[in-house]
Symmetry: C2
Subunit: 191 residues, 2 copies
């Protein structure tokens, strides 16, 4: 396979794909997915739009690659092992606002009609709720100290993580995201 720019080897191609995904993450963080254009992503990595289409034939294909990349970084939320690791993840997120911003903007857009990430998020949330319920069961058994089941608590745990992200992104000085999440974990542990 020849790319016309002389970088036909596979390793180089994978590096280029990774650079495109990173650029897409940045552009989405700045403009949202609907506002992000392939042209802007191409410009950021020094490709023509035609050159970009060689790696990702559609904008949706690029979006899926972005979301998959995000999941690779965050193996934690889908399969967290312990509640204290979740608190660490929230602390980690507080140090990378760009990624949190991209995720939050995409989640927001995904609830609009016909958004290409809607299926991804719907499926992902079902998995994340199930994973959280497993973690809660491992920690507390079939009932938490407050009497709720792990399955009824899981959506609240996920909601607090997501909701705090919006408040923190909008006003990082006013909202201590990791501290607030630890407060919530304390709430869960009391009965």
């Amino acid at each position: 396979m020849s790319y016309g720019d002389g970088m036909g080897v596979r390793v180089r191609s994978e590096e280029r794909r990774a650079a495109i995904v990173t650029a897409a993450l940045e552009v989405i963080a700045e403009r949202g997915y609907r506002g992000a254009s392939l042209a802007a992503v191409a410009e950021r990595v020094g490709l023509t739009q035609q050159g970009l289409l060689h790696y990702f034939p559609t904008k949706d294909a690029l979006l899926v690659a972005v979301l998959e990349e995000r999941d690779r970084w965050d193996a934690l939320p889908a399969r967290p092992r312990r509640l204290d690791l979740l608190a660490s993840l929230v602390e980690y997120n507080a140090m990378r606002p760009g990624i949190v911003q991209t995720f939050s903007a995409l989640l927001g857009e995904s609830v609009t009609e016909g958004h290409p990430a809607r299926g991804y998020f719907t499926e992902r949330y079902a998995q994340v709720r199930a994973g959280m319920a497993d973690v809660l069961r491992a920690e507390y058994g079939d009932r938490l100290p407050n009497g709720l089941t792990p399955e009824r608590t899981a959506p609240l745990l996920v909601a607090v993580m997501d909701g705090l992200q919006y408040q923190w992104l909008l006003d990082p000085d006013a909202v201590d995201m990791p501290g607030a999440f630890r407060d919530f974990l304390t709430l869960l542990g009391e009965g």
Copy 2:
């Protein structure tokens, strides 16, 4: 003032403005704010784009009107009087997915760079957190049964409401939004 279409009286003009705001709400719910065009809004109310610009000279002016209209409907979240009214608001929201979708999509977009609603949401969340803290203090005094202050609990309350909306919008059959919110209120009341 003459509009060229012969409806120059003030009452008629306000009705038209209201119709435009309603149409904008619908278009934003379908496409998100960045995807919503003035042309689509104009078409929905049977105006030319030029005719629409008479009422709202910019897209941002229309967005602000949409957000203000939403706040008029929802006097509750900014100034709720009691915790049980909050539960009623969540139940009410579960019957109007379109409004919740518009709000959630705009909140998501607002965290992207330079979004015109960013200032609105930042200011609104500061007010909502302060209002929630007042409600919690009226209900529980300076400490909740779990030991947290109203000020530390308020961001969690807001986060749960917002986060549950995303999960419910993506998968209404899997997430009982009002039930989950009542579970959270129960959590708050136990120590």
